[in-house]
Amino acid sequence: MATPVLDNPLRAGLRIGRTPEPCTMVIFGASGDLTSRKLVPALYNLARERRLPGGFSVVGFARRDWTDDYFRDLLREAVNANSRSGPVDPELWASFAQGIQYHRGSFDEADAYTSLAERLAAIDAERGTGGNRVFYLATPPEAYPTIIAQLGAHGLAHSNGWTRIIIEKPFGHDLASAQALNAEVLSVFREDQVYRIDHYLGKETVQNILIFRFANGIFEPIWNRSQIDHIQITVAETIGVEDRGGYYDTSGALRDMIQNHLMQLLCLVAMEPPALYDADAVRDEKVKVLRAVRPLSVSDTVRGQYGPGSASGRPVRGYREEKGVSPTSQTETYVALKLFIDNWRWAGVPFYLRSGKRLPRRVSEIAIQFKAAPTMIFADTPLNDLDPNVLAIKIQPDEGISLKFSSKTPGQPQIRPVTMDFRYGASFGVTSPEAYERLLLDCMLGDGTLFTRRDEVEASWALLTPILQAWAEGPPQPFPNYEAGSWGPAAADEFIARDGRSWRRL
């Protein structure tokens, strides 16, 4: 249930958006990393920017034996360490912390939910939160079904206000498990109560893709097969698996990055204009893209796993030497794949996607490479020396958009590529909010546009599950096959070179 837009006459012409109604956010897994690194800093920054209503409350739900005060102190330290606005402002924190409570319990303990329901009712009475709740599942994915079932069993899925649930990634590990999880969630909650989070969609530059495409008249006419040669989407990380080795070894790059983040970027860059900017209209168009993707086969993919090498000038170990990783692991830390979208706009245009760990630079971008000039009239420059036009949408770290085109070299007959740059930081001079701030606020306001719908998740898994199966059944790979700190396996370069193209040098 989306909150009906209140007819608050004082809202007209105000320069910030509506504030949500007072509500309580219950964070399951409150002792975990996500809570202290992302969620609470995001909530605090929202409060700091006057985006949260008075009465907003947080209940941390976890197993450890902590008191409210201890929990508050811990969160305060977490905000100090992780907030983009620096250490907490004591005055503001005092007011924000009044609304924080800790609720001890294990996820499968029925009594803990009975007492949670009582606590939430007490908060409603004391702080005016009117039965509005957000349940945030920041736990390992194994705990999701238990928590969802318990919330249902204790009548917590519905209240006299609104109730919403945010589910972190990974949402399933293949099509069957994603469908099973959807079935469990939807046996307790309605789809419009469910907010599957992909923090990539909370990034300003990702949202800007739609603005760029649909608020400018000049790009849409060239955004198709007649003008575009191919599209590359890259999400490169410099980090290895850090301390997530145990989890990552059961997952891999295809599940961890491609299925969610890269597929989302693909949808945004390839989708048709939605009829309006609303949650279902936008998501309908995204699902249509996923459904139009031609089924993938293993020959459309390249896998890699990093071996020992270096990162930022320091030697680092190989993937198989990481903590929690099997020494004979067959898990991929790099994936490149090529796909086609069989619709009128994109037929015949290849989309190259790649993502990997321990690559030389942290960079995410979408590059649209246009077709070359059809003929060369400038005799001194051979046609194949000309760089094609490239429109690059940079998502991180230097958010912005650049367009490469050819220009005459002063005083000489030569032609050189030059770029026209738009940089977010340079044009707006304000720091962008963190992805989680935007997403948490959207959820509290009942706007699901930037969250993933059930059919979207399933369509994406349906596309990739056959690859996962074929990999699992296929012969073992000669891993590791790329050095940490390099741009991935040589096979990936050959893979794209076969089409007469090359990866962008980033």
Binding site: L10, E49, S95, G128, A426
Partner: protein
């Protein structure tokens, strides 16, 4: 340059040369420099003290709205004097980031007729970019240069907190805005300073159960800093805003003054009775002595009939914070602390420069506040 030597072409040449030098000799550290222009900003100041204030905010303006600034120091005097100089304005950024630069032309004049100044300013404007005229200080509408230029501008920015005769000038501002009807759009930095107060007030009523009380308000008390001479413009604009949003209209004899307190009477639609029924809203604007801050100090909205409700926003002891408190029918008050920084001049300007067209909310608030001010200004 003396009067005879001011040469528009020379200024343009100097600007071009400046960018060429930047391109061939990048700043230390090899940073690339980007010249970016999003608007023309003409600033008319009466003296050097004002010019210094403008120069102090220029870097922060460049960071968000790289522009060509034409700063005109329009001093009075008998002999005509004119000088011009040119400089690039670059923002300081983190090492490795690209620097963004705008341009600034300063025209220093004494006793120059407005027509002569305008003939220098107009050719300096970059074509196809919006033109904003900022006229800080008292009596902006009495300045010949402003009168001469405003029709050519997309936006005129004044600051009601610097008015010399605040109530009278507020009435003038309102009349001007109405006549201009969006050409140019008008901005008041005094209004911009009210934004956080408006946000915090509006936020009470985003909460569904509180919304009905908004239509039952009977009393408003606004306290503002008295300072050396009281400027009730902010408080009047705030009342104007509430009244225009809530369709309240001033009574014929709407104003009264008791000591230093201004009393205003408006009528609002009554709730739950016949369609023609009205009720009275009583407003008090009180100056209070408080050091170190400007503008509003506290505001309280009260519904007293039937169920009592009170909504208060007030500055707390420490500067930079406000406490908001909603109390309904004697239940536990719902309180929170929020930041309400005293905004820097550059932030206020930036927020106004972001607007592309007439701010209709402001226009409606100003119209109402102007009407009240006119009655207050009557002898």
């Amino acid at each position: 340059m003396s009067e005879a030597a001011i040469d528009i072409n020379a200024i343009e040449r100097e600007l071009r040369q400046m960018w060429q030098e930047q391109a061939t000799h990048p700043e230390a550290g090899g940073q690339a420099v980007i010249r970016a222009l999003t608007l023309n900003l003409i600033v008319r100041v009466p003296d050097d003290a004002w010019a210094e204030q403008v120069l102090a905010v220029a870097p922060a303006l460049t960071a968000q709205h790289p522009n060509r600034t034409v700063l005109v120091i329009d001093r009075p005097g008998s002999a005509t004097e004119l000088q011009a100089n040119v400089q690039a304005l670059c923002t300081l950024t983190n090492a490795g980031r690209t620097q963004v630069c705008g341009e600034q032309v300063t025209i220093s004049a004494r006793g120059a007729p407005a027509g002569q100044l305008a003939s220098l300013i107009l050719p300096l404007l970059v074509p196809d970019l919006p033109v904003v005229l900022w006229a800080p200080g008292p009596q902006p509408f009495a300045q010949p240069l402003v009168q001469r230029l405003y029709r050519l501008c997309d936006r005129l920015i004044v600051d009601s907190t610097t008015f010399a005769d605040p109530v009278r000038e507020l009435a003038e501002l309102a009349a001007f805005e109405q006549t201009a009807n969006g050409a140019p759009a008008v901005s008041d930095l005094g209004w911009a300073r009210l934004t956080p107060w408006r946000e915090l007030t509006a936020q009470f009523f985003d909460t569904r159960p509180f919304l009905p009380h908004l239509h039952r308000i009977d009393e408003i008390v606004i306290e503002y800093v008295a300072g050396t001479h009281p400027n009730p413009v902010a408080a009047l604009l705030f009342v104007g805003w509430l009244a225009s949003c809530l369709k309240w209209t001033p009574l014929a004899d709407a104003v009264g003054i008791e000591g230093e307190t201004i009393q205003l009477y408006l009528r609002r639609p009554a709730v739950g009775v016949g369609p023609a029924a009205i009720r009275l809203v009583k407003v008090e604007l009180r100056p209070v002595a408080l050091a170190g801050v400007e503008g509003l100090v506290r505001l309280a909205l009260r519904a007293v009939d039937n169920q009592q409700a009170e909504f208060v926003v007030e500055l707390t002891g420490d500067s930079g914070y406000a406490c908001t408190r909603a109390t309904i029918a004697g239940a536990n008050p719902i309180e929170r602390t929020a930041t309400i920084d005293h905004p820097a001049l550059a932030d206020l300007l930036n927020s106004e420069l972001r607007l592309l067209s007439r701010d209709r909310t402001f226009a409606a608030a100003l119209h109402l506040a102007g009407g009240l001010a006119q009655r207050l200004a009557l002898p």
